[in-house]
């Protein structure tokens, strides 16, 4: 039904577009199949995606952008999270995770819908808009608005409902402010960045205040027999416990945590080598119990293009908010990470990317991610074949290493094949 509505909607807009040359319409259709191989089983899953982009000149200096996506899944769409948990689970916690399955449901979403008003010095953006801050590729500690998938850092993310004002003070000095609307002003996020450049050095300082709906998990016990319901003391409840055994169920709620961050980013070059970095100093205040904690996050990256066209990038990331050992992992932390609450599950990571464009329209790419805390890794060679400007094939095969209970060692291998047709 949603797909039918989406197609009708696009047809209507196409007609409007063909009648008005000020409106540009384009997008793509994508089909993807992936396979993941674990120690004792394999999973096939995939999706069909239709992405639709529209942009139009509304007034002089005003431009409007709209992107929507319709995504349908096939193969496995129901996931028992206990099978994807990297650490060790006792039988109770395994049962709890099994009771909280993850579903991939067909979806129709407005990814972005925003307008930009531009003058010589001011840029005002209003609506659901793409926001991306930081100089890092795989991770962005200073980007408080997005949660990147570091296995696919360039994937498109849903926009953020916000107001953004950018003031170009001088040619290479700008002030950028973002206000994300919450239900009440106290639940809204604010972000400020001052950026300047001298020669090949670009540097920025940032400050943000954002509210996290922090997930809390507990296994709650219950029984049909509750001794407190009796007005007289029950001397021996075991007989009732045998008749009405205790059962457990998972309980999820959210606590409001306010995070303040002060950060710094830079990018420069030395002898042809690009150098970039990010730093974030975070203070989190739990609004429920008033507890406070601080942690820091760093990223340092290098990149270089060799004379033969081979591109190399390395990034190192340290997240003090991550775990230093797999033994510290629990269900709450795992669910928080899966819901995008944390930058990474562990503390120390490296990312390596090698890319080489062949003379035929094929780009060979390999990336590798190393988790230095649980000593696991993934290496993913891939190829992108641009058949023409309208059809692109992508494929990769990933090989993982590490202990079977580690973050990457949990999966032995995975593959993904994708066909994208642009219109």
């Amino acid at each position: 039904m949603k797909t039918k509505f989406f197609i009708q909607f696009i047809l209507i807009l196409s007609i409007i577009s063909s009648a008005n040359s000020q409106i540009a319409l384009n997008g793509y259709l994508e089909s993807e199949l992936s396979t993941q191989i674990m120690a004792d089983e394999g999973i096939n899953l995939g999706h069909y995606k239709m992405r639709f982009d529209m942009e139009a000149d509304a007034l002089e200096n005003v431009r409007i952008f709209f992107n929507a996506e319709n995504q349908s899944y096939f193969g496995q769409t129901f996931f028992d999270l206990s099978k994807f948990y990297p650490g060790t689970l006792d039988s109770l916690n395994r049962a709890m995770l099994t009771m909280m399955p993850y579903f991939m449901r067909d979806s129709l979403s407005i990814m972005n819908m925003y307008g930009i008003y531009n003058t010589k010095k001011i840029e005002l953006t209003l609506g659901r808009q793409p926001l991306a801050f930081g100089t890092g590729y795989a991770w962005n500690p200073v980007d408080v608005f997005n949660h990147k998938d570091f296995l696919d850092p360039s994937s498109e993310l849903r926009g953020v409902d916000a107001v953004r004002l950018r003031w170009q003070i001088l040619n290479r000095l700008s002030l950028d402010g973002v206000y994300r609307l919450g239900s009440i002003p106290d639940n809204s996020d604010a972000f400020l960045e001052m950026k300047w450049g001298i020669g090949s050095l670009d540097i920025s300082v940032l400050a943000s205040n954002n509210l996290i709906h922090s997930l809390r998990y507990q296994a709650v016990s219950s029984s049909l027999f509750d001794p407190s319901m009796f007005e007289f003391p029950v001397l021996d409840s075991s007989i009732f416990n045998n008749l009405f055994p205790i059962f457990y169920y998972p309980k999820i709620n959210f606590q409001l945590v306010e995070r303040k961050q002060y950060g710094l980013t830079f990018s420069t070059e030395l002898m042809g080598m690009g150098i970039h970095g990010e730093y974030g100093h975070n203070t989190e205040l739990n609004r429920i119990d008033d507890t406070k904690r601080t942690y820091q996050q760093w990223l340092l990256g290098l990149d270089y293009t060799f004379n033969n066209g081979l591109y190399f990038m390395y990034e190192w990331m340290k997240n003090e908010n991550g775990l230093s050992s797999i033994d510290d992992l629990d269900i709450q932390r795992y669910l928080q990470y899966m819901s995008g609450e944390h930058l990474s599950l562990f503390r120390n990571y490296s990312f390596i990317n090698l890319s080489y464009g062949l003379k035929i329209p094929v780009v060979l790419n390999t990336f590798a991610i190393f988790n230095h805390d649980d000593i696991s890794f993934t290496i993913t060679p891939s190829a992108q074949w641009t058949l023409n400007d309208y059809l692109v094939f992508n494929g990769f095969v990933g090989f993982n290493g590490g202990d079977a209970k580690s973050e990457f060692g949990l999966f032995k291998a995975y593959s993904r094949f994708q066909i994208t047709g642009y219109f």
């Binding site: 793409p130 991306a132 290479r172 090949s200 670009d202 690009g274 270089y304 003379k359 329209p361 400007d389």
Partner: protein, 245 residues
């Protein structure tokens, strides 16, 4: 003074005059090719060694005698809105992605990279008046059609990717007809041909540029769809901020 010494001095003098003449020809060619500023629309057709074709179209802005270049993609649809800024003869390259609305600065080592997998590199695309700064020119014997032939070798401190260039220059208007690019090998690995030269606003302008890669058999054709010269740009036009607009 012996005859031997006279011959030696004459030969030195002659090579000095030849070098001076070569640099004058190169200088005249740069003046003919490089206007203070220009803007236009260009298309690029990339034919790969397997025969497949890719077509790009972009707006092109050039300022300060080609020192700064800004390009905004119009086609294909998947690249529309992307923009590239090359400042200071490609020593600073910025790429803007409209989907994320983020501009990233590439390290200068990226200028050796092929532009959009074409046969042009960023270095080829950015700036044409830097030859006299980066290369020493030597005049070779004119070709059979009477065109100037220059050999350019990089100056010691120059940060360039090629070991040698050979230029064929038309005498009538000092416009180049071809540039052969060399690496370490004795044969040129690619050659740029200038065709369909028309006079636009008093400036000889090649409407068709073909870069042929002799190693791979691929070629890239650039066509000018429209062009105008002596455009006045705002002071902040060739800066990262303008990529977003």
């Amino acid at each position: 003074m012996s005859v031997k010494n006279i011959l030696f001095i004459l030969s030195l003098l002659s090579s000095f005059i030849m070098a001076q003449e070569a640099s004058e020809i190169l200088d005249n060619m740069e003046k003919a090719m490089t206007q203070i500023s220009s803007k236009g629309i260009m298309s690029q057709t990339i034919k790969t060694s397997t025969g497949s074709l890719r077509e790009l179209e972009y707006e092109y802005y050039s300022g300060e005698k080609g020192k700064h270049t800004l390009m905004r993609y119009l086609k294909p649809s998947r690249s529309k809105g992307m923009a590239i800024l090359m400042r200071d003869n490609s020593s600073q390259i910025w790429m803007y992605n409209q989907r994320t609305r983020r501009a990233r600065m590439l390290a200068s080592s990226a200028k050796n990279q092929n532009f959009e997998n074409s046969d042009f590199t960023y270095e080829d695309m950015g700036g044409s008046d830097s030859w006299t700064d980066k290369y020493d020119a030597t005049r070779l014997e004119d070709d059979k059609d009477g065109h100037y032939m220059l050999e350019l070798k990089p100056k010691k401190s120059a940060d360039v990717s090629y070991t040698k260039l050979i230029m064929q220059i038309r005498k009538s208007d000092n416009h180049p007809l071809s540039i052969a690019y060399f690496n370490d090998e004795s044969d040129a690995f690619k050659t740029l041909y200038f065709d369909d030269i028309r006079i636009i606003e008093g400036v000889p302008t090649a409407f068709l540029l073909t870069m042929k890669n002799h190693r791979t058999g691929s070629n890239t054709i650039m066509k000018i769809i429209s062009i105008t010269y002596d455009v006045e740009f705002d002071d902040d036009f060739f800066f990262e901020n303008n990529l977003r607009k």
